[in-house]
């Protein structure tokens, strides 16, 4: 038996010798304080060298066009999926996600200390959008590829939130145009990304300390609000370049409610009202206060959605374009027949044949429609009582932003208007966009902000209209944008493009103008940032 005991001991020793520990994954933060990175190091979704990224982009039409604009990648890009804690529109602690794109490669501009570009994405109706997912890039309207190609593949570290309400977020809504939330989330994403960066598999690239802020469309509001918040906190912003943004929200809202209905407005309206209802709780008592009975049910939780927008429209959840009732409301202001008549006329379906935008605006009216006439009138009455100095035309001597609106939606727009608080940037800022933009009116937004900041030191604010006659340092970009538009128009009129008439082709171009501006303004932003 003694031999058996010895053998048993030997076996046990052998087994124990073989014991060790299992490999572990990222550390999960126990804190839910906003700005905390949840998993450190973060998950790398993809790693492409410059050649493979170029090849991937070239493999489809959209990517190939993008390459022509942004130029051939000089760096590889590692894409990381970061999750972090932030705060929702009503102060809720919530988990959100985004992308950290890190340039890689042997070239000196691809590793070592590199500047950070903090990017705010435009409006997404697709709830599944994820800036870190370059396989399902369509859910981001191709924005992640555009940002990666424009910035990361040229040596900039890119930090881009998906924003609460999207991807893994369980918030249940997106704090759309909520300036404080959006700025806070952008800053939280930046903090999380800075925590993550040294621990990634791309640690040869580090933060140089330079911070550039940009974004597109709704993300431009986020970008500008972030610039404002960081500067207010005394943190350095190297430069900013928001593009195609709805900065002058109150003026923009006034323009829309008075009939200049933007392209795609039925998608934007529920996002705006839900966001502000969650933040302020006073936009409506019931959704029928704003929305017609046809669409009111379920609209507060409709967007963003994993269901494609075309399906939602086909299922009758939203109208295709009719934001307002085609029957003009009659405004009655007791004791003021003249103003009543003026407002009634102002709310009529636009019909000026001399205005090339009339077909666009007319499409915003119909039946069934999204927004009730009674709500539209309440908004218009407030605008009449507390006019915005920027619309319909900037008024000399009148403060550009309204003073204390009372209608709750208009008040919410006012509070989130970039003119609110008389803020002006301290860091060099490029405002890029296109004057023919049918979704975010250039003159009402970029033009208003340029006028609002016209007294700032020369050179602090630069305005670029990609549709204007090419001139100055950005002339090549303006020329390229206009050539791309002409080429697209020619394509639509060719046999391959459907042999459309000029009018039909121009109508199609209207629908793609806003997104068409995006990569050209991003390129302008990169050129602008390269000065610093």
């Amino acid at each position: 038996m003694s031999k058996l005991r010895h053998l048993s001991a030997a076996i046990a020793a052998a087994v124990l010798t073989a014991c060790g520990s299992d490999s572990t994954t990222s550390t999960v933060a126990s804190s839910t304080t906003h700005g905390t990175l949840v998993e450190n190091p973060p998950f790398r979704t993809a790693s492409l060298n410059a050649a493979s990224f170029a090849a991937q982009l070239s493999a489809n039409t959209t990517g190939a066009q993008l390459l022509q604009i942004t130029g051939t990648p000089t760096c590889g890009v590692d894409f990381y999926y970061i999750k972090f804690w932030t705060v929702g529109g009503a102060g809720e602690s919530t988990e959100s996600s985004g992308a950290l794109m890190v340039p890689t490669g042997a070239a000196p501009t691809c590793s070592g200390p590199r500047p950070i570009v903090l990017y705010g994405h435009g409006t997404w109706v697709d709830q599944t959008g994820n800036m870190a997912d370059i396989v399902n890039y369509a859910a981001t309207n191709d924005e992640n590829l555009m940002v990666a190609a424009t910035f990361a593949a040229q040596g900039y570290i890119v930090v881009a939130p998906n924003f609460a309400g999207y991807d893994i977020s369980t918030l249940g809504y997106h704090p759309y145009f909520n300036a404080a939330q959006q700025a806070g989330e952008m800053i939280d994403t930046l903090a999380a990304a800075r925590t993550a960066l040294p621990n990634t598999m791309s640690s040869a690239t580090s933060d140089s300390g330079k911070l550039f802020i940009t974004g597109d469309s709704a993300g431009s509001n986020a970008a500008m609000a972030t610039q404002r918040a960081l500067e207010a906190a005394g943190q350095a912003v190297t430069a900013a370049a928001p593009s195609s943004g709805a900065y002058a929200l109150e003026a923009f809202g006034d323009a829309i409610f008075f009939g200049s209905v933007i392209y795609g407005s039925p998608e934007f309206a529920p996002l705006v009202t839900t966001s502000f209802q969650r933040a302020y709780g006073n936009i409506y008592s019931a959704t029928t206060d704003i929305y017609s009975a046809t669409y009111a049910t379920g609209i507060a939780t409709l967007l963003p959605s994993a269901t494609p927008i075309d399906t939602l429209i086909a299922n009758g959840a939203l109208p295709a374009s009719a934001l307002f009732d085609s029957t003009t409301p009659t405004v009655t202001i007791p004791g003021n027949a003249i103003l009543s008549a003026e407002l009634t006329a102002a709310l009529a379906v636009p019909s000026n044949p001399a205005n090339p935008d009339t077909p666009l605006f007319e499409a915003g009216f119909g039946n069934p429609y999204l927004i009730n006439n009674s709500y539209r009138v309440s908004y218009a009455l407030d605008a009449a009582s507390n006019p915005d100095g920027a619309v319909p035309t900037p008024t000399a001597g009148v403060p550009l932003a309204a003073v204390a609106p009372t209608q709750t939606l208009r008040l919410a727009l006012y509070k989130n208007d970039m003119r609110y608080g008389d803020w002006a940037p301290n860091s060099p800022t490029l405002l890029c966009g296109g004057d023919q933009d049918p979704e975010v009116f250039f003159s009402v937004n970029t033009g208003t902000m340029a006028a609002f900041w016209s007294g700032l030191p020369a050179g602090l604010i630069t305005v670029l209209d990609v549709s204007a006659t090419p001139a100055g340092p950005f002339a090549p970009i303006q020329t390229a944008f206009q050539q791309a538009g002409a080429a697209q128009l020619a394509f639509y009129m060719s046999a391959a493009g459907g042999s459309l008439t000029l009018a039909q082709a121009e109508a199609l171009l209207v629908g793609s103008y806003h997104r068409g501006v995006e990569p050209f303004c991003a390129l302008a932003a990169r050129n602008f940032f390269s000065q610093f």
Binding site: K3, V15, T24, T25, P41, V135
Partner: protein, 233 residues
Amino acid sequence: MTKFALRALPVALLSLTASLAWADEIPNNTVRIGEYWVFYHTSGSALSGPFIPPGEDLTVTVKNVQTPYLAYLRRLSTHFTAELAFGIPPLTKTYGKGPATLAGTVPYNGQELSSARWFAPTLSLLYMFFDESYALRPYIGAGVNYTAFFNRNSTPAGDAAAGGPTRVELPSSVGPSGTIGLSYRLPHNWSLSASYSITRVITHSTAITAGVVRSSDVSFGPQAFVAAVGYSF
């Protein structure tokens, strides 16, 4: 004389010689020590989960291993013996099988992705042919295998392919095992044995990388050849 008979003659002589030396008392306990040569026949479902490029069939292969073999046998009757056998837990390495690169330019196919040690005891009931007077006794057996995986490690290449530091989860497996073998009794209670066994080891492999969970069902299909020396008491 046929070729078969010529080949069988030396074996029969050896058997007779050993049986003549066998004592009257038949020991009931035997311990064996030897060597396992394990040959894996890996199959399974493609990896599933987030961030797997559509259309990519990502599977793994496992490299064959060799490890010391240990066993305890208890004689139950003339023809039946219980065997508890296991190997010193071998370090088993897993290699990527699929596209050359993954997630862009990260090498995958043929890369050593992970490793794990196996503790895989098998309890079998052996049927021994002939009786104890024969030195050379073939046997067959059936039993149940329990496999526990530990030291589950993702390699740097595995981490790169997975997207970051990865925890590998491999739940234990219980499956049937079959064996066929020969034992040859030597003088002074010693013996030699050789066997070949087939075991079903199936697990649900899970890789967790920064909260991203991906998994697949893996059948390792190990087959093992054993050569051992035994001592009975």
